[in-house]
Amino acid sequence: MAAKNLTQLDPKKTLQEIEEKFEMFQILNEEGTIVNEKANPNLSDEELVELMSRMVYTRILDQRSISLNRQGRLGFYAPTAGQEASQLASQFALEKEDFILPGYRDVPQIVWHGLPLWQAFLFSRGHFMGNQIPEGVNVFPPQIIIGAQFIQAAGVALGMQKRGKKAIAITYTGDGGSSQGDFYEGINFAGAYRSPAVFIVQNNQYAISTPRELQTAAKTIAQKGIAAGIPSVVVDGMDPLAVYAATKDARERAIRGEGPTLIETVCYRYGPHTMAGDDPTRYRTSETDSAWEKRDPLVRFRTYLEGKGLWNEEKEVVVIEKAKEEIKEAIKKADAAPKQKVTDLINIMYEENPYNLDEQLAYYTEKESK
């Protein structure tokens, strides 16, 4: 009996069928041609130009941040080049009331969502004022513990649902992050409560040095959503239109009360993991690097916009100059922030200091006055 039943099962086939369904969603190909007109989100000319401007701006921000780090004028920094479409086009699909829970590489999204750049620089420098989120800016500081933001996003989304808000929680991690327990717990909780969350896994191929193939036997990260019973999709993460459309679609479903979505954006990080000594030549080849650079989001979006007569070199130069100027201003403002003191930190531990902190406050007040 048992043997007969077993022959009727074909779990391998089930897996194969599921995996085959996860084709990569693309709208704008590497050459800058629309290959999926039906799915084109039809952004207005103004919106297309704005999205392009943000991507150019953010590429400059990345370059400047790297050189400021090398000069010792910035601290912790996780490079973002190669991930502009994944980061910025997903944020572009949001409304102001949507809440972002970023990983540490996701500083651009929270800056475009309203966190002043000088504060992002203070975060990099290790100053608590960098994490003081201004009123009305719906973001959380960048998360350091991989994946922790995923389950918190389920909580923010559930809270929004309970408050009857027409808004979503959106969170980001990487291919490595999708291996953490928190990742599974996050998508599962949000699925169980059908709460309005959008989970983005930016699959940039390497978790520091560990290649995506070593993270999981699953063919795609998106298919992990199946186990949580939530819709999921693999998107060309270097195609801004595909990322925008997928995020917009997920957001709308969430607002309609249809629960969360998992989006895997397939992309690449051109730079090192962080600026703290990672050397990608130890684990990646230059052939791999250049193969991915051919898919660059800025290159294809520039071609597309130029074809529509919406973009040219002059416009790009204007954006670049604006970015450089604003970065300079933001650094100046960060420089002007008062030197962080231990006494400042003592006073943000509790609403009221217990005896030990009171005593230590006195000790460090004296120490820091010298």
């Binding site: 912790f76 290790g126 513990i145 953490q180 040095s209 999981t216 990672d278 684990y283 962080q340 820091e368």
Partner: protein
């Protein structure tokens, strides 16, 4: 004798035990091709193969659980937690599972696991990288906790830890990785767990410390020497179990003691040492046993860490209070 940094001494110890015992397995995030983010496992995958030295998916709790399971199959796992600030993700595997293996199976299983992990302040890391969280481990019965302060100790202690048949948490202070070199014999040697080391002899005051603070304490002892005070510095090396014999012998000799730790003051290792001294040697004491520790905040955002971390000045100041009581 070779002059090695602490990180080189650690690599040497791993190589020695990978050679000595085929059951030793080294694994963790980026320990393979990349040789670890600090290069502690540099070259080991190449030398011993992917079966013995391998990368894991990114999940600290997975790494801890894997170690438990491999131990059940008779292996001697030496996993790395990339930064000890990530230990919260693996607390159940360590404090809920690994530490209880011998106990809850009535001795039928044991867990010869050594978890290595970098920690410690002063190197401007982002949040959750530099915290001194050793007290989470010392409040876990069933594990031993080792923190070396020199390259020589690092090698001998790590070999002992790997050979130990109970779980050992082996914590490596990041600031000590490459800040100085020390003599490290090429041949294998062990330093027993649970044995402190008198790093400097003295007669007027005992400073008990561990990790990076041993070096601050030694500097403070030199300063105090200039003012005519003879200070003994005891390096605990193993903070669980404590070497009560060495601590008490020193305190009975000097009659005055203080404890220096990098961690926050509340509920720390220092408090435990003070309690042991007062319980066992109160009649030898000429003064209260004082502590130097960091303030009871979360580990600071990096801009404030140099003031936050205990230093020579704090130690000298407190030492004078003890000496003049």
């Amino acid at each position: 004798m070779a002059q090695l940094t602490m990180i080189q001494a650690i690599t040497e110890a791993l190589r020695t035990e990978l050679k000595n015992d085929e059951n030793v397995l080294v694994f963790g995030e980026d320990v393979g091709v990349n040789g670890g983010v600090f290069r502690a496992t540099e070259g080991l995958q190449k030398e011993f193969g992917e079966d013995r030295v391998f990368d894991t998916p990114l999940a600290e709790s997975g790494i801890g659980g894997l170690a438990v399971g491999l131990a059940l199959q008779g292996f001697r796992p030496v996993p790395e937690i990339q930064f000890f600030g990530f230990v919260y993700e693996v607390m159940d595997s360590i404090s809920g599972q690994l530490s209880r293996m011998r106990f809850r199976t009535g001795g039928s299983f044991n867990a010869p696991v050594t978890i290595r992990s970098p920690f410690g302040g002063g190197v401007h890391t982002p949040e959750m990288h530099a915290d001194s969280l050793e007290l989470l481990m010392t409040s876990t019965p069933g594990v031993k906790v080792v923190i070396p302060s020199t390259p020589y100790d690092a090698k001998g202690l790590l070999i002992s830890a790997i050979r130990d048949n109970d779980p050992v948490i082996y914590l490596e202070h990041m600031k000590l990785y490459r800040s100085f070199r020390g003599e490290v014999p090429e041949e294998e040697y062990t330093i027993p767990l649970g044995k402190a080391d008198v790093k400097r002899e003295g007669t007027d005051l005992t400073i008990i410390s561990y990790g990076a603070m041993v070096h601050e304490s030694l500097k403070a002892a030199e300063e105090l020497e200039k003012e005519g005070h003879s200070v003994e510095v005891v390096d605990l090396r193993t903070i669980q179990p404590l070497d009560i014999e060495t601590i008490i012998a020193s305190v009975e000799k000097t009659g005055r003691a203080m404890v220096v730790q990098e961690a926050q003051k509340q509920a720390g290792i220092a408090a435990n040492v003070v309690a042991e001294i007062t319980e066992r040697a109160i009649l030898s004491l000429e003064a209260p046993v004082l502590r130097v520790a960091a303030p009871d905040t979360v580990y600071p955002f990096s801009q404030a860490e140099t003031v936050w971390l205990p230093g020579v000045k704090d130690i000298v100041e407190t030492a004078k209070k003890v000496l003049t009581f």
